[in-house]
């Protein structure tokens, strides 16, 4: 899983049927100090995250399909948590 911050939401009329009524967020990848690395991904929201939320993103297909209760959905990235705090020893 990776940590990130939601920076935007995508609206889309024409999409694959699996994505009907699903919320797509743009998530920028962040390090453990919350600093953006420059990379990003588009993930399905399963926890009602909003723009600005620091989130935990699962970026793996089989786990994502399990979360979204699908056998054959073309999905790999799902927001699975909203982060309150990260403690590090570094």
């Amino acid at each position: 899983m990776i940590t990130g911050r939601v920076i935007g939401e995508i609206q889309s009329t024409i999409n694959h049927a699996f994505y009907d009524a699903r919320k797509l967020m743009i998530v920028e990848h962040t390090d453990f100090e919350g600093q953006p690395s420059g990379d990003y991904l588009i993930a399905v929201d399963s926890v009602s995250a909003g723009v600005g939320s620091q989130v935990l993103v699962l970026d793996e297909g089989n786990g994502a399909r399990q979360v979204l209760k699908s056998k054959d959905g073309p999905v790999r990235s799902v927001i699975v948590g909203i982060i309150d705090e990260i403690q590090t020893t570094a």
Binding site: G8, I10, I14, H16, I26, Y40, V51, D72
Partner: protein
């Protein structure tokens, strides 16, 4: 998934079985601000609705082929949807 812009179409006269009627589009990947970033690629379009000039989002890897019907086809990038709007804190893209 990543954002991309369709910059052209690719027409094949011979394709692998299962890909006969699937449009192939030439895609320029975009960064999070909508600027071109990275190498261009060819993506299958199972929506059959995307065309040059449109902003789309695409999936890569094994999941890309799963967007197609039949799904057991040699595809590594597929267009999942066409972007209407992107709501960003600083405005729309």
């Amino acid at each position: 998934m990543k954002l991309g812009k369709v910059i052209g179409t690719v027409t094949c006269c011979v394709t692998y079985s299962g890909l006969e009627s699937v449009p192939m589009l030439w895609v320029q990947p975009l960064d999070k601000t909508g600027e071109p970033k990275g190498e261009t690629l060819v993506a299958a379009d199972p929506t059959r609705c995307a065309g040059p000039g449109e902003t789309i989002y695409f999936e890569g890897g094994r999941e890309a082929a799963m967007a197609l019907d039949p799904w057991f086809v040699p595809v590594d990038h597929a267009i999942i949807g066409i972007v209407d709007h992107i709501h960003l804190p600083g405005g729309e893209l």
